[in-house]
Subunit: 220 residues, 2 copies
Amino acid sequence: MKYSSSKENYIKAIFHLQRSSENVSTNALANALQTKPASVTDMLKKLKEQKILQYERYKGVRLTAEGKKIALLIIRKHRLWEYFLVEKLQFGWEEVHEIAEELEHISSKKLIDRLDDFLGNPRKDPHGDPIPDANGKMPVLQQISLDAIELNKPMEITGIGNQTPELMELLQRTNIKIGSKLEVKKKFSFDNSLEIKMRNAAPFIISQFLAKNLLVNDEE
Amino acid sequence: MKYSSSKENYIKAIFHLQRSSENVSTNALANALQTKPASVTDMLKKLKEQKILQYERYKGVRLTAEGKKIALLIIRKHRLWEYFLVEKLQFGWEEVHEIAEELEHISSKKLIDRLDDFLGNPRKDPHGDPIPDANGKMPVLQQISLDAIELNKPMEITGIGNQTPELMELLQRTNIKIGSKLEVKKKFSFDNSLEIKMRNAAPFIISQFLAKNLLVNDEE
DNA sequence: TAAAAAATTTAGATTTACCTAAATTTATTT
DNA sequence: AAATAAATTTAGGTAAATCTAAATTTTTTA
Ligand SMILES: [Mn+2]
Ligand SMILES: [Mn+2]
Ligand SMILES: [Mn+2]
Ligand SMILES: [Mn+2]
């Protein structure tokens, strides 16, 4: 089966949203897809027909097993293309998402499997997110929010939560990147801000909100 | 400006067709695009509105300068992606066209220019066709049909005319490839067939029709 | 628990890219 | 130059993916 780009975008958005909420609401989807709730309702009815999701009106949606399988393939394509753009074409990690948003809809399965091999079967994309394998299995990386770790323990940034341009902007300013090594030196109880120290740089303070959006590896 | 995949396919098809005929006919386009003449007429009216082509009803079409510029960019993308698939992902040159037919519609200009550099700015695609540069200039390769060359002069196959699966099949059987070195030993006036000799192989005979579809370099 | 507010769906349109069948125009034959 | 054939366009639809405005259902609040 082959699905339109529009349908694939819906399937992927539902997949991501259903990890943080039981059933995914019409409004949440409309917001994620930059569209109107009425349009979402229309599409949900079509996707239900195709058994890609379970949907009862006014009750929100969940993907079926089939739906999840499709979502994981799209995510695989998205992340492999992002990796290609950064590693082979020298793009900055903040500019690849939009292009991958188009490339993820190229249909050839053989293409993506060959690309995977060409790239050396990477396990994480440039944002630190795990890349599903050819069977749709996604490695579970034990990532933990920087906000929750012990003091003075060396850590590596392996991912970021909310991937908005606003966060990107702040990361550039503070020079924090995927792969940066750092440790938390102190937590200030006044506003829960954290003092962090990166290798070869003076210590500085970041907000709790930012810390919650920085993921570090637990072991490894 | 950004055009739909469908419009881009029309523009590219007109570009190719208008090299062999003054004005491109509705039927020729319908045939090339595997669609119906009535659909072509509809689309031509829209593309005329957008000043991409000159069209008067019952008289056929030609691209405007703007239309040609768009066509050359699409052809550039198509051929660079084909080169990538063959050279980096180990695809066979007969299986890349279909995938490139999708990849050519990815919109990022920066992506294609980076890809061009990554590939080492190739001048020909895997079928021997020239690749337009970032400004849309397409090198004119002096290619001449094998049917028209002198006897006993060493030549290299640099391109093929009609790129159908049928021709591909015959080429595989005869083991003729882009880059093959050969010379024409004799022409038979009975059916205009040619005896050719490839390096390290016994001479064999090919039809005039096949010879007309094999392009060789004139000088170089 | 009855209003009010929020979320969601339905109704009715629009745009794009197609289609078939019928009408029209152009080209080719007698 | 008619008549016939071929090419092309027009008329009238359809399906996908959107939208706005109005109706309905669910949730929250007073
Ligand atoms: Mn991304
Ligand atoms: Mn997308
Ligand atoms: Mn091609
Ligand atoms: Mn195409």
